[in-house]
């Protein structure tokens, strides 16, 4: 059996079901690793070790008597700290909600537990899932396990850092302007923003009602499909929840991609936001590799990244202001500087700005939908640069907006980011696959084809 901390979700669940692996041993091994490595990574805001061990013991007893709760039975998971876990505070990494005790699990957590997962604790984020790494909050920012002097991306920073470092094999993140896919890109793991409405947002602290998504973060594509299978599905009490029937997300994983039509969006990284040459080279390599595997790759043009970004910002900051306005009015000093600046911006946007962005949004959706009449999946950049040093504030501010993730928050299409390679500096560079609404299975199919060619699932950071 491989080292427990690098075991995939799939392998761990299979071994537990076969009574070859004890959930107690697995959980204990991960908690030991967390104790050893987390002081350098800051992935956790709160480790819930006792509850995790109690849950692992219950899972072991059940497994021994042949009772499995579901496909994740006995497998540990980390939860971004804007998502409710009953009995733990949901702090949103902010002094504002330091004592905000959750009385019930978010629906996505409830579903993970229903599938047998064991919650290890709550994970670092950017304050209220916006901004960047900050040093003026009650908890330090998470760091990148490939090089702890560098940031891990965000806002699901602890989720990305912890999955990549082998602290847990899966985590929940949220994505409003790219916050699952940014840490997935920076930390070299697999992060999916599902179709808007596929995963319930109930029990997740909102940033922007019409842009928020909950998504799975894992080290392999198959694990991501497995985790999505557990959390997807209609929730009648989430007004944004889709009524679409649940799919079989891993159905096409090993089908290969012969004949798949892949639309390569060159202008995102070549014209709109010219990428670091290492990122450009990696994207070209992915496209060529998929072609060799039998995909038909053609160029696709979408609206510019600048315009997508503007639409995302106007909507996000306007909706966020509607949530944070009262707190920013009464207790602005309880926010960190970055969060305060970003969240106050909505006060200066007009109703006209918001409606303009919302009307343009529908046209942008139509333009992306038109592309999907020509191709089955899109391939494009995620981050334009590898992660920079976390304490280089100017470089963080320069590189954070250099990305191609916001388009798919605006349109709601499913989008997955994963490793495309490693830079000469030893940091991950990334690629993004985007699919039709509710066609996560094809996104996974393309991503799995690349993973198989490149062996990205076998590449782990050198942290020990």
């Amino acid at each position: 059996m491989s080292e427990l901390h690098w075991m995939t979700v799939e392998a761990a669940a299979r071994a537990i079901a076969a009574k070859e692996l004890s959930p107690v041993d697995l959980t204990k091994a991960l908690l030991d690793r967390i104790e050893r490595l987390d002081p350098r990574l800051n992935a956790f805001i709160r480790i819930d070790g006792d509850a995790a061990m109690a849950a692992a013991l219950a899972a072991e007893t059940e497994a021994q008597s042949g009772r499995l709760r579901g496909p994740l039975h006995g497998v540990p998971v980390g939860i971004k700290d804007i998502i409710n876990v009953a009995g733990l505070p949901t702090t949103c990494h902010s002094k504002v909600l330091q004592d905000n005790m959750a009385t019930a699990d978010a629906v996505c957590v409830e579903r993970l537990r229903g599938a047998g997962a064991i919650v290890l604790g709550k994970l670092s984020t950017h304050e209220f899932a916006i901004g960047g790494p900050s040093f003026d909050l009650p908890w330090p920012p998470a760091r990148n396990p490939w090089n702890t002097d560098h940031h891990p991306g965000g806002s699901s920073s602890g989720s990305g850092s912890g999955v990549a470092a082998g602290l847990f094999p899966m985590a929940l993140g949220t994505d409003t302007g790219g916050s699952v896919r940014n840490p997935a890109s920076c930390c070299g793991i697999v992060g999916l923003k599902p179709t808007y409405g596929l995963v319930s947002r109930r029990g997740v602290f909102p940033l922007s009602f019409t842009l928020d998504h909950v998504g799975p973060m894992t080290r392999t594509v198959a694990d991501n499909a497995l985790m999505l299978q557990a959390i997807a599905g209609h929730d009648p009490r989430d007004p944004g929840s889709a009524a679409a029937a649940q799919g079989h997300y891993g159905a096409a994983l090993d089908r290969g991609i012969r004949g798949l039509r892949v639309g390569f969006v060159h202008h995102f990284h070549e014209i709109d936001t010219p990428a670091n040459p290492e990122v450009t080279a990696a994207l070209e390599h992915v496209a060529r590799s998929l072609q060799v595997e039998g995909a038909e790759v053609r160029t696709i043009t979408l609206p510019s990244l600048g315009e997508f970004g503007a639409v995302n910002r106007v909507i996000l900051q306007s909706e966020a202001w509607s949530i944070h306005g009262p707190w920013l009015s009464e207790r602005p000093g309880d926010y960190g500087k970055l969060g305060r600046q970003r969240l106050m911006a909505g006060a200066f946007m007009s109703a006209g700005d918001y409606m303009l962005a919302s009307r343009r949004r529908l046209q942008m959706i139509a333009e992306v939908e038109a592309a999907f009449r020509e191709v089955d999946v899109l391939l494009c950049a995620s981050s334009m640069d590898p992660a920079c040093r976390i304490e280089d504030t100017a470089e963080v501010e320069r590189t954070y907006p250099r990305q191609a993730r916001t388009p798919f928050n605006v349109t709601g299409h499913p989008a997955l980011a994963m490793m495309a390679g490693l830079s000469v500096g030893g940091l991950p560079v990334s690629v993004q696959f985007v699919g039709r609404y509710f066609d996560e299975a094809t996104v996974f199919q393309a991503a799995r084809a690349w993973e198989r060619v490149a062996g990205t699932d076998k590449k782990h950071p050198p942290i020990v």
């Binding site: 009524a243 106007v314 009015s329 970003r342 200066f348 946007m349 409606m355």
Partner: protein, 60 residues
């Protein structure tokens, strides 16, 4: 947007305290918001609808 306009808008939005305690953050926030909408193409069709649409009876 000039400083005076920023202050008027900030006070109208309930940010008087922030303006007193963190004036540079209020100005930074206003600057972030100032020109962003200008990057968005205005729909030429005057009846272009927004997203998400109003849909009666499909939720809750």
């Amino acid at each position: 947007m000039d400083k005076e306009a920023i202050e008027v808008l900030a006070r109208r939005s309930g940010l008087a305290r922030a303006l007193a305690e963190f004036p540079e953050d209020v100005i930074a926030a206003a600057k972030q918001a100032a020109d962003v909408a200008q990057k968005i193409k205005r729909p030429t069709d005057p009846v272009a609808e927004p997203w998400p649409p109003m849909k009666a009876g499909t939720t809750l």
